[in-house]
Symmetry: C2
Subunit: 769 residues, 2 copies
């Protein structure tokens, strides 16, 4: 342990990943793949680690005089208000996410509908080149708008958003991921992106949107526009914000799939790292609100007041018309489907990872290059969508078709395309539709022969490849729909191939194919199962869907991780896994403590604090009581950078080195420590400390968290990691085992538990069990 | 800290609840309500605390030389085998629970069917008194058998079993709750009890049965019958057993309700205290197996090979035929239904609690009194079921009835009872049926006028009261079915009353009524919602079911706790709540440390260990290293009673006080520490230590857990409780803050965190926030 004094100014060399200043964050965030950890003090350079500078979140409840004082002053009615507000927030999140979901759907259906109508009209007049120009032109315009929004306003809005939300709920606040600009771009970028005909979904973006809405609501209005309400400051802490964002993520899924229970389970199984029963209930309430909003609007729109938004709007693939009967050959077919689906799903993950690595190098060359990439992919998509249907032969319309054939509407089966009257082009029914309608067509039951095997094969290959190369370009892009699209096409293909021996409807095979792909890429189980059931309204398929999901997840897990985990890793977010790595058992907590430690006295000189804040990026400082305040040096508690800044701004200084707790309590209240949204907190530059105040003293006791979680230095690293992860800590104090030494050995943060850090220090432990 | 020596023999006075010897456990377990905590050393007697002697479970992973040695020796193929076995166990649990579920249903349907057929036949011959004698006689015989099984073989099998399973998964092993005798009685007692016409369900017992099966499988065969397999010893620890029992509980719900997803969610929301994603998946697999087994048998039985087990078998109330349309007046009606349902549900909890307290006093008077109580309730039930239908007037059969009317079959609507041809008795259709069939009749759709309002009212009152007075008698009795029965009758009644203004089918109202009662008593949300949907096969009701559940749970929470939590409390099981009580913030860890602490040296005299084991009931002892083994006294680790017994049995003693780790490692392996099922471990009496060995030394280092979780004595009790709960600890070491003191202040167990203990020590903190 080294006490801080001005002679020790070599701290700049130490770069703690936790501790980048926010001005460098943005610059570095855009190129996470190229950063190497510089760690000059410990003389170890970790090469190849994907490090991204981010803030950790404070989930721990601090216990200090200020907080206790504040609790004592809260009256019962205030606590009741607080609880009521929590539920009001859940209601607001549900309402707004539901409304955004409706808006998104209406906008996409109308824009894409207009585009498809225009194309179809030109096709009917046999103006094929003009039709292509109109189609590709519309796509290009929409794609460029989406890309421009992403590139210039909010780069963080690109991609799915689920990995970032997942990381946030694990305690990692990636830069500007929940900002209002991100929300804006996510909503409109997603609308333009989906309407532009890309093989992307609106589900991931909806989850991200829900989370952004929740985060903004939890931030208690906007200080910039003087829209704050004093009461909301009680919610300005990371714990309450985490709860709200969990609700938001669940609401997003509920709005995207119209699956309220599935939304809750998604939040539980995939998004959240910590869970408790009270939150389950609140999340359930939020998704119930979403379900009611959606139902209301769908009833409203069923009267035709929403333009081209009609039945094809909110995805809901009702397959309950098909009779579910199956016997042994069907089950064998389904098992085979699950095995191959799992392998294809994990291959999808592998390829997405490779493409993302390439794109991240391309994208960092600037906004123009980003947009150019989007334009290229858009052109390629348009060429595929318009060009490939020419490969299909025209099929005579079936006599017993339930819908009109050929069809010149916006959505639906049996597209006419270039075919003569009385015939339809099956590939066009898949390509020249929105993704939602294409899935509906693939899942349609009692239409065995509608799609040729060759057409299904072409569509499958095209969609599988387009899905892979589209994710990672600078537009908001969900992964669910591409995977469902490819999966349901694969399932229908398998169903056609097994037609001679299986009695199961190809529409049901299609559903199982989608399940197998989802299981193979996302690696969820219960939530996917419930989402699929809610989507298709057919509970009788439950055993088969479970079977397929189990098989495909098992197959996928043999090869690689789930796609969201992969992206979290790729982005370099320091995610804390639920289980410690096996080799951690062979290390002890002291082994991973690095760098010099800076501690403060219980009553510290203002100058020392300022220097420490300026010269290091540390976010937590141990406070040590020394004589005369105690008999021997002992650990009094832990102060956070953010708390110190508030304390210094309050200027409760004294001339002498004395306890001045009351003075501090009079000047500052707990509410002053309310944590602002990321990047908006008090900064060192905001302080205005006079020269003469540098030599004054400030009492840290009132703000020090007197109950930090500690581990003895000889605690096995695995058990320390369990403690850190289960309690959602930001800092963990390592204390000495033997007596007569300074009362603290070091502080561990989540970065110290990252495999890259540990294996950098001890490369040989990797192969120990 | 006091070192143990023979001059300190006053330990007998100290009664630590954690530490009752097993011989007193049984005696005291049967009267949990009357025990007062005797705590003479600390001079505090806690009056009125309901204390039940139980074992705590060891979920913590020990880290010591032996374990590390063992890990090093395991080869990859062994780890693979271990994982494979886990899945094999899940498969076996699913299969056996499914089979037991089927067996249970077939048995109940046949026994109850025979009884009802006999009664109906005598009724048709107008031999009304004989019919009653036959009916009541059958009931009485079955009830007495169930009660005798419970009273003489396994008292732990009485009741639902869900509270005990919930407590087990929280770390509390109540005596013989998962024994094989309990399993046997639970299966047959439940069959007899349900067939005897009691207002009890088979759902709680199924959950308990699933858990028992899982526990027995996890125990690795039977030592008594030499059916052990060496490999299974790897599963002989509380962590793996907890996982298996979670799977078992989920399988139980899946088998009882044919609701695989609902089963997983039940285990997640209600049963389990800790959860992780890997377990979610395994549980999902188990319930999928159950679903497949059930489906297979139902197909088999549909050919008529299962006797009277037919459509009425496994409960499945398909209401998807009813059209779900609702508007504002319906929603208002539903809200009102939810509010009143929630209040009635919490009143149910209140009354069950009162009745249980009375019964527990009656039941402790011996087996004969227990059986007498069962006989009385059985007679009362028979009188109600047979007598009350006479109050109903005969109703002419409707012309458009889809089933035969009047009906003289075992199950079904439109029972003829005493009515003339062409008429039916609506109350008899409810009373003289199995509970499952009565629910099916209540939930039947498109049959608005079938039941008179007065009949519904009579049935509701009777079932509500019978349900309350039946729970707690000495038979296995589930709570789900009584609540669903009363709730669906209540819902149908409300539906009839709102008929003029509401368009919703009364069958759907009935479902919502059941939901409101379930929400009001059980206080679950997502799992109930999914179970109800899987039961009724109608996803379109989802928003309304969610709404009702939310309202009724909110209403119920205003008055009291959920019924299972209430029973856990009543049984005096030291359940660790997820959140610390507010007043714990005002105490520190040192405040609740009580009693003298016994510590061992790193190399300790055999005699001292024997004395400590004999004279105290402590289960964990800190090991302190002293000079010459270290520079100053320091905490080396923690040993458990069970480990010490194994170590002493191994007799790795030495004449001198020297480190002898290798000697110990040669004599004992990690597998010797495999934990047997509750009550089956090594006992002090099994040791055979010679007089001369008392003065020899034994090295505790190889078995001491060197990484126990510790808290500093000044840590706030609230945060210590969070640590204890989240990590599932059994012992937590409290270490001193200042230097120069002995290295450990005390040990906290789950009992030290119980409100009774804390409020006994500090009654005044209760009112602090």
């Amino acid at each position: 342990m080294q006490k801080f004094d001005s002679s020790m100014m070599d701290f700049e060399e130490r770069v703690d990943i936790d501790d980048f200043e926010s001005e460098v964050m943005e610059r570095i965030y855009s190129k996470p793949l190229l950063i190497k950890r510089v760690n000059t003090t410990s003389q170890i350079a970790i090469v190849g680690a994907n490090v991204c500078p981010v803030e950790s979140l404070d989930y721990e409840v601090p216990e200090n005089e200020l907080v206790n004082e504040d609790w004592r002053s809260r009256r019962t009615v205030q606590i009741f208000q607080y609880i009521l507000l929590k539920w009001a927030f859940a209601l607001i999140i549900g309402l707004s996410t539901g409304l955004v979901g409706i808006f998104n759907n209406i906008a996409v259906e109308n824009i894409a509908g207009f585009k498809l109508l225009l194309t179809t009209e030109l096709m009917l007049k046999h103006k094929y080149y003009k039709a292509f120009a109109a189609y590709a032109g519309c796509n290009l315009g929409l794609a460029t708008s989406a890309a421009a929004l992403c590139a210039f306003i909010a780069p963080a809005a690109a991609g799915s958003g689920i990995p970032e939300v997942k990381a946030y709920l694990n305690g990692v606040d990636a830069y500007s991921i929940l900002a209002s600009s991100t929300l804006f771009v996510k909503i409109f970028g997603s609308i333009f992106g989906v309407a532009a005909g890309f093989v992307v979904g609106k589900e991931g973006p909806m989850v991200h949107t829900g989370s952004c809405i929740a985060s903004l609501i939890g931030q208690g209005g906007s200080r910039k526009y003087h829209l704050t309400w004093r009461w909301l400051r009680y919610f300005k802490n990371d714990r309450d914000r985490r709860d709200l964002i969990t609700c938001g993520a669940a609401a997003g899924v509920a709005a995207a799939f119209r699956a309220p229970v599935g939304g809750v389970l998604f939040a539980l199984e995939e998004a959240a790292s910590w869970w408790r029963s009270a939150l389950l209930w609140r999340t359930f309430f939020t998704t119930a609100v979403v379900a009611i909003v959606l139902r209301g609007f769908i009833q409203l729109c069923s009267t035709g007041t929403c333009g081209l938004f009609g039945e094809g709007g909110l995805i809901m693939y009702d397959i309950s018309a098909a009779k579910v009967v199956y016997s042994t050959p069907d089950i064998l077919a389904v098992i085979l489907l699950g095995v191959i689906g799992g392998i294809l799903g994990s291959l999808y993950n592998y390829l997405v990872d490779k493409v993302l690595r390439t794109y991240s190098i391309i994208n960092e060359r600037g906004a123009a290059v980003k947009i150019l990439l989007v334009i290229m992919i858009s052109l390629l998509t348009s060429i595929c969508s318009y060009g490939l249907p020419w490969l299909a032969t025209c099929i005579p319309c079936p006599a017993d078709a339930s819908t009109s054939c050929p069809n010149t509407d916006v959505s639906g089966n049996y597209k006419s395309f270039q075919c003569p009257p009385g015939h339809y082009n099956d590939l066009a029914s898949l390509f020249l539709n929105t993704n939602d309608d294409a899935i509906r067509n693939l899942l349609s039951t009692n239409t065995v022969k509608e799609f040729h095997i060759s057409s299904l094969f072409i569509f499958f290959v095209a969609v599988y490849c387009l899905g892979i190369i589209t994710y990672g370009i600078a537009i908001p892009s969900g992964l669910f729909i591409p995977v469902i699209l490819a999966g349901s096409c694969y399932g229908r293909l398998v169903g056609r191939l097994f037609e001679p021996i299986s009695k199961l409807d190809v529409g049901l095979f299609s559903l199982l194919g989608a399940a197998s792909f989802l299981g193979g890429t996302m690696r969820m189980t219960v939530s996917l199962c419930v989402i699929l059931l809610e989507l298709t309204n057919d509970l009788l398929m439950l055993p088969l869907v479970m079977l397929v999901l189990l098989i495909s997840k098992t197959m996928g897990d043999m090869f690689n991780k789930g796609v969201y985990d992969q992206i979290v890793k790729l982005k370099g977010l320091p995610y804390m896994e639920a289980h410690p790595e096996p080799y951690m058992k062979h290390l002890i907590a002291r082994d991973v403590v690095t760098g010099p430690l800076i501690t403060f006295s219980g009553v510290e000189k203002v100058g020392n604090i300022l220097l420490a804040l300026k010269n290091t990026g540390h976010n937590g400082f141990p406070v040590i009581d020394e004589p005369p305040f105690s008999d021997a040096p002992e650990l009094c508690g832990l102060v956070l950078r953010s708390q110190l800044l508030v304390l210094l701004k309050g200027k409760a200084f004294s001339k002498d080195r004395v306890l001045a707790g009351n003075k501090v309590l009079r000047k500052i209240s707990e509410l002053d420590f309310a944590k602002a949204g990321s990047g908006k907190g008090l900064k060192l530059e905001d302080l205005d400390i006079q020269e003469e105040e540098w030599d004054m003293y400030v009492d840290l006791h009132p703000i020090a968290n007197t109950s930090p979680y500690t581990v003895v230095e000889t605690m096995s690293l695995a058990k320390a990691a369990v403690l850190f992860r289960e309690l959602g800590l930001r800092h963990m104090c390592v204390v000495p085992k033997s007596q007569g030494r300074p009362p603290i050995v070091g502080i561990l943060t989540r970065h110290d538990f990252q495999p890259e850090h540990i294996l950098g220090l001890y490369p040989h432990v990797r192969f120990q069990q």
